[in-house]
Amino acid sequence: MHRFAKPSVFLKLTAPILPWLAGATAILIAAGLYFALFASPIDYQQGDTVRIMYLHVPSAWMGLFCYVGMAICGAMSLIWKHPLADICARATAPIGATFTALCLITGSLWGEPMWGTWWVWDARLTSMLILLFLYLGYIALVNAFDDPDRGSKAGSALALVGAVNVPIVKFSVDWWNTLHQPASIVRMDGPAVDPSMQLPLALMILGFTGYYFVVLILRVRLELNERRIRALHLSGMFDDNAQDAEPYDPGHNAETSQ
């Protein structure tokens, strides 16, 4: 397993996957949006407002999915001290935070016309807001240390402790009564969403998941390349090239050649 977790192997493995994944994601989201906005029926009760669900539910799913991924990466980084796990956790946090915020915003926009309120402090909404704060806290914490190793240690610990909130978000609607409706899709009696509405929902969920992996790969590659450049600078590699090529950063060369 460690063989696959090497940065060079990661770059080599993801390079051919990335364009296909990006293409599939674009097609899935485009098709999902077409079905969500045009080619799906209105709801008997909500009318066109039901279409918010096609953004809201996939965002909620991604908010939880990304958090689980971040917590697993955090655990791997704490236990095996693997740098790639730490990079993945750091790269996941802003994506998950964005999806969680999107979920809260779309939920609020749906709540006003349907429930008659933008926000209530019920168990589902509150635990979802805590999820957003956990993401933001993680991002702030990993960047709060001068030594990145200490930052990732503290961040991983926070991500792991916060993972307790994930089942609370999912099961809050079953454990307590809430204004938020119970689960519609993943539940004992099978989905309570009409099949004609399941198609756009499934397309959007797959599309959002694909989007996450595309952005994750891009962000991890960016970080690996940045680290490589930093390492090259430190090793003085650019000094040797300076003779036959234009120096990229003369000031930096002067510094490292001392």
């Binding site: 029926p41 209105i42 709801d43 008997y44 009760q45 909500q46 039901v50 669900m53 655990a75 704490l78 236990i79 095996w80 016309p113 349907m114 429930w115 008659g116 309120t117 209530v120 019920d122 168990a123 792991l160 402790v161 993972a163 307790v164 609370i168 454990w175 307590w176 009564n177 809430t178 204004l179 409706q181 119970p182 689960a183 519609s184 539940r187 309570a192 969403v193 009409d194 004609s196 509405m197």
Partner: protein
């Protein structure tokens, strides 16, 4: 030798993380169970009846289905009264204000307010509770025709009782 030591260290870290997670989950479970009354968003009519008489100064929320045929306008012309039920107990709710679009008989609602001396719930806010069923109008029509609709409403009422 040193390799196996590194391995046992990793195992140790794994156990520590597992133990910490278990402890945090346990603490969260205990705290949430202890504060259950503040975590729940509303009380069902059964719980309200059980708790009554309730101090009129205490603000609380009641949730249930609007019973069929009970929505009436009071003499003052702006207060609406209706019965909220969980099919076991019922409480009459009085409210003057704007009702949400989804408000209708048979619909799940949550009202915030207080109990008055006559055992009537005086609401200052009424919210509609949407259930987990999503379907096009034609499907809803055919469900109503086939009689499956009552089953869904009964299920919703049961859920309100929780």
């Amino acid at each position: 030798m040193s390799l196996s030591r590194a391995k046992s260290r990793k195992r140790q870290r794994m156990y520590i993380i597992g133990a910490v997670l278990l402890a945090v989950a346990g603490a969260a479970a205990l705290a949430l169970t202890a504060f259950e009354d503040s975590v729940v968003f509303f009380f069902s009519p059964s719980e309200i009846v059980e708790k009554s008489p309730i101090d009129p100064d205490q603000r609380l929320r009641i949730g249930g289905l609007v019973e069929e045929g009970t929505v009436t306008k009071l003499q003052d012309g702006k207060t609406i009264a209706f019965v909220v039920t969980d099919m076991a107990q019922s409480v009459t709710v009085a409210y003057s204000g704007i009702l949400p679009d989804l408000f209708r008989e048979g619909q799940g609602i949550v009202a915030e307010g207080h109990m008055n001396a006559n055992g009537m719930f005086v609401a200052s806010e009424v919210l509609a509770k949407h259930d987990e069923n999503y379907m096009p109008p034609e499907v809803a029509e055919s469900l109503k025709k086939s009689g499956y609709w009552e089953e869904i409403e009964a299920k919703n009422a049961k859920k309100m009782r929780n």
